[in-house]
Symmetry: none
Subunit: 233 residues, 4 copies
Amino acid sequence: MPDSPEKQAPESQGQDEQQGQEQPPRRRQARGERRITQLLEAAATVFSTTGYTAASTNAIAREAGVSPGTLYQFFPNKEAIAIELGDRLMHEMRDTYGEALAPIDPVTPLEEAVGAAVERFIDFNCQHPVFFALMHGPDVPGRITEAHDALHATLHSRIEGLLSSFLPDASPADLTRTAHMCLGMYKAGLELVLAHEGAEREAYVQELKNALVRYLDPLVGERLGRPDATTTA
Amino acid sequence: MPDSPEKQAPESQGQDEQQGQEQPPRRRQARGERRITQLLEAAATVFSTTGYTAASTNAIAREAGVSPGTLYQFFPNKEAIAIELGDRLMHEMRDTYGEALAPIDPVTPLEEAVGAAVERFIDFNCQHPVFFALMHGPDVPGRITEAHDALHATLHSRIEGLLSSFLPDASPADLTRTAHMCLGMYKAGLELVLAHEGAEREAYVQELKNALVRYLDPLVGERLGRPDATTTA
Amino acid sequence: MPDSPEKQAPESQGQDEQQGQEQPPRRRQARGERRITQLLEAAATVFSTTGYTAASTNAIAREAGVSPGTLYQFFPNKEAIAIELGDRLMHEMRDTYGEALAPIDPVTPLEEAVGAAVERFIDFNCQHPVFFALMHGPDVPGRITEAHDALHATLHSRIEGLLSSFLPDASPADLTRTAHMCLGMYKAGLELVLAHEGAEREAYVQELKNALVRYLDPLVGERLGRPDATTTA
Amino acid sequence: MPDSPEKQAPESQGQDEQQGQEQPPRRRQARGERRITQLLEAAATVFSTTGYTAASTNAIAREAGVSPGTLYQFFPNKEAIAIELGDRLMHEMRDTYGEALAPIDPVTPLEEAVGAAVERFIDFNCQHPVFFALMHGPDVPGRITEAHDALHATLHSRIEGLLSSFLPDASPADLTRTAHMCLGMYKAGLELVLAHEGAEREAYVQELKNALVRYLDPLVGERLGRPDATTTA
DNA sequence: GATGAATGAGGATTCATTCAT
DNA sequence: TATGAATGAATCCTCATTCAT
């Protein structure tokens, strides 16, 4: 993991520290920050192109136009790159869409909320194709991968947050489960959406929305005193 | 499929070498057949342990207790192993559960049909953990892998077949799309199911069933002139 | 060779040896001989296709339609195959063209003799493309290869024989040297001839003849009292 | 040529690391350059020992005393090594003997010119035994190898250049053909020369000269108005 | 920080050869 | 004889990582 924002010792060799910026060490940080961004962008490209497992650190360095040594000056290994990349993605998602996946007015109809969330989710993926690669991660279920897991956890908690306003009475366990199911459906749907184009893609988007709305609808029945809500419980 | 084109299988062979020696002149094929089975079992283990991408042919050979050369006498490469493995899995699924995923009596309620299919699907996966690894395949979306694709296609067509009896009026395109969605939901749900145990696992099984039933229910409402389409309860 | 050529190989059950051919053991030999021929033909194909060094015994066996084990029943290794192949080629050459490369009437003009020899040599090569492969052999000069050397020696002695009638007064050492030069030029020319087609090929054939005639002409000058044989001095 | 595109060679570097450090910032390239030289020398040894086809990259790395990985940092494969090696040989030949194989004074007698060229050619080969290995290349005629072809083309064009001053009136096609023949004879003769030692070697050298002179003599008859031009007939 | 050279174990795959049947 | 399975060392090449400069 790259140096956390501060944490940045002036290190050795101080020959160009003369010009009086208010924080001379900042300079260093800025350059390092640029390198990191550069590397992460390269990693994003490589991950989405070849997949996480098959991606090589050398390939990432090459794509970034730096030497392998440089890469290892900022990241201790491939995993760390993925983690940081996931982190930044999550931050960007938060910055772009706010704390919850969608601002939920309690009276927003479910379809609308789900529809908006799906749209945003897909948009985000189209702008950041790595997202998909990281979310699927190394193709083994048991193998726990920090990067993948962190991303997953973040997404999960966001969805949980979103759902909690729709399902205020659900038990935590149920909420967690429902959020997992939604995330799973999201991922599955996303794969189908990305695999198609044009009208067919739109059809899959709609299908994903349908699946989610229908899945959630019976659960939110109690909201606003809807009378028919008979669900699994 | 291993490259030797004879394929004169002694009929009665299962996973082990019990079968008697009816045809002495062809005994050595039997040894090869056994090796193939053994290699495929080893591959299954390795694939499920490390994932398809990270699995190495040497690891498979080692797991099977043979030399790398032996593996290559039967399979030209990793992909071929996966293909054959997928093939055999599909055959076994067919042998176990019949041509369609479930025999569908037109009056079978949707829940029942879906429930049974899900149960079987999950059972099958528990008995053949490779299935999961093969279904997820290499972690890149674009990269087409024959093995993965073949498996996918087979599953998809089976689901389509199953659905077609429920949705006799759906257009082919809709049917295909719906089947894809179901398969995606299946896969997503399976991942969750396998990630849990005991009661929690059961809860996820139920959740998967719910998701599928609710997704499909509005589509099959017209079946048998049901006017009210109220399902889950 | 009583076995009909159908390839019916009943293999290891010896009940049909009763019918009294005059030499029962002959049977075996005949079959073996056929196998050997078959293998040598396959080897010829593989050698000319991939070159001697890159040719593999497995490939030869496959090309011959037999198992590797069978190949090793007749030849102890790749080298032995090449040797036998070279041997048979030499015999065939002898059978086809007689003991010397050309029947040399002492009054045959040099051009005619050389021309005929070149033609035959090239014809032979076109009918037996392995010849070229074997003659070039493994691409190292020092590495002594029995097959290649035997072939070379045979060719050399044939050329020597041919030359001796033209150069009756040459010392053995000179004769040997001249024969080596001729063989070298032959080989070099052959390579060029084979690399071209049509008219260009013919031009190279002519060029090869020219080179040889001009090279030899001064040496045979004394024959028939030709007066002009002044060469390099 | 090794893949690093900078190539900012400090000019004065020979086989060893004498040159001073004018450009400190680029010193590490020098190490790489040294490695490349070292690898090429090792390759030269291996190629001449085992032949191009049988040479293995691992053997080259071993001979150079480095790990296989290091070799691949500079060359993508065996072929590339051969190409670079051939390139450097051609450059060295040019540096040593000038642009044409020999500076041709129009009045130089043919024997003299050919004799000098042959001497140089053979000397060069004795100092660079790889040359032979590269020139013979992979032992299959059809298989085109860049390295071998490049070397051949260079040599051919040099010979063509040399010949053109002797045969100013020859058509391009004839010139090309004649050059090919000369090169072929050179190669064949070289093989014989290298296969012998002492006086016998000298005898072969002489024989090669004879063959070439006699081959070319009738073609250059017209030069300087020599009236006696007796050619092929 | 930055470079690029270096590593060596490990990847897939092939091959000459042997062996049980 | 013939088969084809088996071998294991050797092939080429890649990769994550380290290190001297």
